[in-house]
Amino acid sequence: MNPVTTSFTDPVLARYLALGAVLFVIGLVGFMTRRNMIMIFLSTEIMFQGVAVNLIALSRYWHNADGQSFVIFLLTVAAAEASLALGLVVMLYRRRQTLNVDMWSDLQG
């Protein structure tokens, strides 16, 4: 058993939630501004980690393991998304020899 050595209370929870929000927003900015396809997907991983911090902190706060279970599922989806997305990136790179998303703007119809 792990004895709770430091008390985990409302102000501490607020710190963690603020950190999760900051990480999410940094990832969002990267997602919208980078033009390299690989960097766009790497920015979504930052957003995933911000959400994971939120979930773990709330799980600790309520003494409820649901948050940690959700992080397990989040990691699963992140791994699946990374493998599929990077496969797509490699395929697209082979077609046009560039990673610039602007080169694929003809897909918007």
């Binding site: 607020a14 969002l28 690989i38 790497l42 560039t98």
Partner: protein, 251 residues
């Protein structure tokens, strides 16, 4: 709305705007300075808020490890977004993963910390590094290409994103709005479960009793994505390149 919060958010927005890849080093340094200013304002506001609303809480103390790990995480996240070479961004991402797993240890989620390192730093990031090496236009040692050096119009993106951040922080820290952290809490749930909390045992019990079917579905998802990745990766390779032309790596 609290003015220090607005100021910290605005400083953060300006800092991130200056630190986006633009090809000029002094702008990056200026952005770093303003970013430190923003973080300082935010942290002092956090301390002020905690002492104002929870004067008798024992948990207000400095919490050195939290600050070290969170500053490391935020700094390396900015490094991921702001660096013009993808391989360095990937390395900054590894640093961010390590910092966040340190935070998970602080939150008594040791298993999740280890899993985060193994899956993110071990599996996902290795995949990213492989793809960066496979799909870099002229080798790793070449200078950053044009679309990495200059980011695509960061002004509107940063305005919208930091509006979102300001809204979230307002909901978290404002003392008047309903549904704030101060209002949600208040109950006795936090102390009802006593002083012992074994995260791993609770996680295992929860996963295999309450979320059994979602766990199996997660396995199905992994299998489908594995098959999909193989199909995507091999279908178009022979079509664009004739085998033996010399520019395809042979495994």
């Amino acid at each position: 709305m609290d003015y220090p919060l607005i100021i910290a958010t605005a400083f953060g927005a300006i800092a991130l705007y200056l630190m986006m890849p633009r090809g000029e080093a002094w702008l990056f340094k200026l952005g770093m300075l303003i970013g430190v200013l923003a973080l300082g304002t935010g942290l002092s506001y956090l301390t002020h808020w905690a002492t104002l609303h929870f004067p008798n809480h024992p948990g207000i103390g400095p919490g050195v490890f939290f600050y070290v790990f969170s500053l490391l995480a935020i700094g390396s996240a900015v490094g991921v977004v702001g660096h013009s070479k993808p391989i360095y961004s990937a390395l900054y991402f590894v640093l961010m993963t390590l910092a966040i797993s340190g935070l998970f240890v602080l939150l008594l989620a040791e298993f999740m910390a280890v899993v985060l390192i193994i899956i993110y730093a071990g599996a996902i990031l290795v995949t990213y590094v492989f793809v960066i090496m496979l799909a870099s236009p002229s080798g790793v040692a070449a200078a950053a290409v044009d679309y990495d050096r200059v980011s695509a119009d960061p002004l509107i993106a940063i305005l919208v994103s930091f509006l979102l951040l300001g809204t979230i922080l307002e909901v978290l820290f404002s003392s008047s709005a309903p549904g704030t952290a101060a209002a949600v809490v208040g109950g006795a749930v936090t102390t009802a479960h006593g002083a012992h909390w074994n995260g791993l045992a609770a996680l295992g019990q929860n996963l295999y009793s309450r979320y059994t079917i979602p766990l199996e579905l997660a396995g199905v998802l992994m299998t489908i994505s594995l098959v999909g990745a193989v199909v995507i990766a091999r279908k178009n390779a022979p079509r664009t390149h004739t085998l033996g032309s010399g520019d395809m790596p042979t495994e």
